[in-house]
């Protein structure tokens, strides 16, 4: 008895504009062919040409012109056997105006924005409770200590640029610290590793001295650009610590592998040290080497905490509500997932 095997062409070949993209792409999809190892994909505009092969049942052609119709042919291959062509209906690519896969983020952002605006407005003229944050409470003590010892304060605003929210938070903390330092007539040294951060830090410190009524005490030389090289910066700051012997070291913002080099050197000089970062990997180093550590979100709350401005404190309430909703969704999602209902899980999966 002789058996003949024919490799069937793929069934259900469809071609459609790739969703949520900037155009120039068509996705081709088909049903799996039994025994097929590889699929060959052809594109037909004027002539039929081979454009690629795949082991999957989907292929994305990213080299098409928007608004031009194309027909795609797919052939299944198994060893030396190749099936006949199966063609798709014509399809054209076009750019989209909204990425629907980000719809959940879109709603989440605007709901959160609504919370912030609502709580900021509601907080006007009211005193809202904020829990004590030891690291921020210690800032006054740290500045006072430097004044008593007649030594400077060293403020390191992290190694990231102004595009990093942690750096903005560090700059927000710099203002009240510089103001306090100006009032106590204590020099504040701010070495920077980014010229943009340096420019902003100079302006902030200058304004702080002006507000404290001591514009004459401001020294531009004390807020300077050191280097943008990570370990050269660490070496430079270590050198300042060893030579100038600041009584207080403040490390705020984004830090990387140099965090422990800075904090341990400061520890050796006997300075009081307060660190604040949202870099989870660096937190253990700061906790081990500093007197106080401002952890994660506390860094972002610092501006509101130090100024006690009702509008800023109000935004913290929005953060609390956001956290409460997330905690509820996490709990509900866990329970539903255990019951094999992936509703919440799917909502977050598309994020």
């Amino acid at each position: 008895m002789i058996y003949l095997f024919f490799l069937l062409p793929p069934a259900g070949v469809e071609a459609f504009d790739t969703p949520n993209d900037e155009g120039g792409s068509i996705t081709i999809r088909w049903k799996e062919v039994e025994g097929a190892k590889v699929y060959l994909i052809y594109r037909k505009k004027d002539t039929l040409e081979l454009i690629g092969k795949t082991y999957d049942t989907e292929f994305s052609d990213d080299e098409v012109e928007d608004g031009v119709e194309y027909v795609y042919g797919v052939r299944a291959v198994a060893g030396t056997d190749t099936s006949d062509f199966a063609f798709s209906p014509p399809a054209a690519a076009s750019p989209q105006l909204f990425d629907t896969s980000k719809l959940n983020i879109f709603f989440a952002v605007f709901i959160y924005l609504f919370f912030i605006v609502y709580f900021v407005r509601a907080a006007r003229g009211r005193t809202l409770f904020i829990r004590r944050i030891a690291g921020l409470d210690a800032l006054d003590e740290a500045v006072g200590r430097a004044t008593e010892m007649g030594r400077p304060i060293l403020y390191v605003p992290g190694l990231s640029g102004m595009g990093d929210v942690a750096t903005i938070a560090a700059i927000n903390i710099l203002k009240p610290v510089a103001k306090k330092a100006a009032e106590y007539e204590t020099p504040i040294i701010v070495p920077n590793c980014d010229p943009i951060v340096m420019t902003v830090a100079q302006q902030v410190v200058k304004e702080a001295y002006l507000e404290a009524g001591r514009p004459d005490a401001y020294r531009e030389d004390n807020v300077f650009f050191l280097t943008d090289s990570q370990f050269a910066y660490a070496a430079g700051v270590d050198g300042i610590m060893m030579r100038e012997r600041p009584a207080t070291n403040l490390f705020m913002g984004m830090f990387y592998a140099e965090s422990l080099i800075l904090a341990e050197t400061g520890n050796m000089t006997g300075a009081i040290q307060i660190a604040g970062t949202d870099a989870v990997a660096q937190l253990p180093f700061f906790i081990a080497a500093c007197d106080y550590t401002i952890i994660g979100e506390e860094l972002y709350a610092a501006s509101a905490y130090l100024s006690q401005d009702p509008k800023l404190v109000g935004s913290l309430k929005a953060q609390d509500l956001g956290k409460a909703i997330l905690m509820f969704l996490l709990l509900l999602g866990s329970i539903l997932s255990l019951c094999n209902i992936p509703l919440i899980l799917n909502f977050f999966r598309t994020l």
């Binding site: 010229p195 304004e207 050269a232 050198g239 972002y300 501006s303 929005a318």
Partner: protein, 205 residues
């Protein structure tokens, strides 16, 4: 106007960038490319000149006033000058590469290697069993460190699995707790800046 201008720019650009994130259209991508990437490069170049001025003046003043460690500043100034001269003179030729490969890279590696000694001294302080939390940290860290080396598996073959569990569940839960707070804090700070509620970065209240 000195404050209003930047606040208006922050408001318009902030919301424009939020919407840009949700719009995949090429016009939106072009907007990002021009308004963010190209402008950032232009601004950075000018501000690097400010940085260079600050660097030069800081070290020059230290040398001129013979402040403690002034010779380090002199070395920094000379090193910068020589690198610039060689960079421009040889059009970033082999000599320039040698400066990077045989001076800068080893110096950076030396600083990085100091980390090993600092980790030892910091670990000694952190692991002293002064209270319950420090004792828990000491015990957990000992288990994790042993489980990550072959000797741990030699002592007890299930130790690597225990370590995996510690890192995957209690450790990850704590990290994610911090990260959720950080994420919300970041969005709130960004929104406050966009809406003009947070103005400390402008220098004033």
């Amino acid at each position: 106007m000195r404050r209003t201008g930047p606040l208006v720019v922050a408001f318009i650009m902030g919301f424009a960038m939020i919407f840009q994130y949700f719009i995949p259209h090429p016009l939106s991508q072009k907007f990002y490319e021009i308004m963010v990437q190209q402008w950032l490069i232009i601004i950075s170049i000018f501000l690097y000149l400010f940085g260079l001025r600050s660097f030069t003046l800081y070290h020059y003043h230290k040398v001129r006033r013979k402040k403690e460690g002034w010779y380090f500043s002199l070395i920094a100034l000379l090193a910068a000058l020589i690198t610039v001269i060689i960079g421009f003179g040889t059009r970033r030729g082999p000599l320039f590469d040698k400066i990077y490969d045989y001076i800068l890279a080893p110096l950076q590696a030396t600083m990085f290697s100091l980390l090993a000694f600092f980790i030892a001294s910091a670990a000694y302080r952190a692991f002293r069993a002064r209270n319950l939390e420090a004792t828990l940290l000491l015990v957990t860290a000992t288990i994790v460190m042993l489980g990550r080396v072959p000797f741990g598996a030699f002592m007890w073959h299930k130790l690597p699995d225990v370590v995996e569990w510690i890192l995957k569940y209690p450790n990850m839960a704590a990290q994610r707790g911090i990260l959720i707070g950080v994420g919300l804090g970041m969005i709130a700070t960004s929104m406050k800046i966009i809406l003009g509620i947070e103005r400390s970065y402008l220098g004033g209240e």
